[in-house]
């Protein structure tokens, strides 16, 4: 599917758009406290920016940016950040995912600690969703070959 066409308009437009999409993804993530958005939507946008790059160039170019091993590590990191936050609350003496216990190690009150706990959890969701979207797309688009193209 994804053969490189060497089309300068498409390639430079994709290169131009990608940082803006990623900045918007981070905006959606960090303003999830105040406006619509959050980890899931931001993660999908972050994955979509990388998918745009892979479509405009090819899979080889995409894997030069994020290698497959790094992507697999990112897959698991997000879930680990999420459950690690819960486990930290458990270690600090509260219940699982009771973020107000994080006030013991953060210089804020329990209410702000809950807000920061929400942020940590959303970052975990963002990492996992972005990496999983990229990995599913690469597997689907190349039928698991991860090489240049079949057709």
């Amino acid at each position: 599917m994804i053969r490189r066409h060497e089309d300068i308009i498409i390639e430079s437009l994709a290169r131009f758009l990608t940082p803006f999409i990623q900045a918007f993804a981070l905006y959606v993530l960090f303003l999830g406290h105040y406006s619509p958005g959050g980890g899931f939507q931001g993660g999908v946008l972050m994955g979509a920016s990388f998918i745009l790059l892979v479509i405009a160039y090819d899979i080889i170019e995409g894997k030069r940016r994020i290698t497959e091993k790094f992507n697999i590590v990112l897959n698991a990191t997000g879930v680990m950040v999420f459950s690690g936050t819960g486990l930290l609350c458990l270690i600090l003496g509260g219940e699982f995912l009771d973020y107000s216990q994080l006030a013991a190690i953060l210089p804020v009150g329990p209410e702000e600690a809950r807000g920061l706990g929400i942020l940590a959890v959303e970052i975990g969701v963002e990492i996992t969703v972005a990496a999983i979207m990229v990995s599913i797309f690469l597997d689907l688009a190349s039928a698991g070959e991860h090489e240049e193209a079949l057709k």
Partner: protein, 81 residues
């Protein structure tokens, strides 16, 4: 929520849903599903569920259409039945 606008959106959603399963070309079917997702996104926004609308726009219309197109490239483009 304005009922005329609501009625137009719901009619278009039904038309898109029927078109997505009747059209013979699988690629057009995927694109029509993307249009369906955007109309659903407008309906969610009208109901005030902005977070759901955002998710519908990113996942339903954005990424899942890309996944469908990627999968269709590995099969035949026209349906047999």
């Amino acid at each position: 929520m304005i009922w005329q606008f609501d009625l137009i959106l719901l009619t278009l959603v039904v038309i898109c849903a029927v078109a997505a399963i009747t059209v013979k070309d699988l690629l057009s079917s995927a694109i029509v599903l993307g249009a369906y997702s955007f109309l659903m996104c407008l309906i969610w926004t009208g109901m005030g569920a902005v977070d759901v609308a955002f998710t519908e726009a990113t996942v339903g219309a954005g990424v899942s259409t890309v996944f469908f197109v990627a999968a269709i490239y590995h099969t035949t483009r026209r349906t047999k039945d």
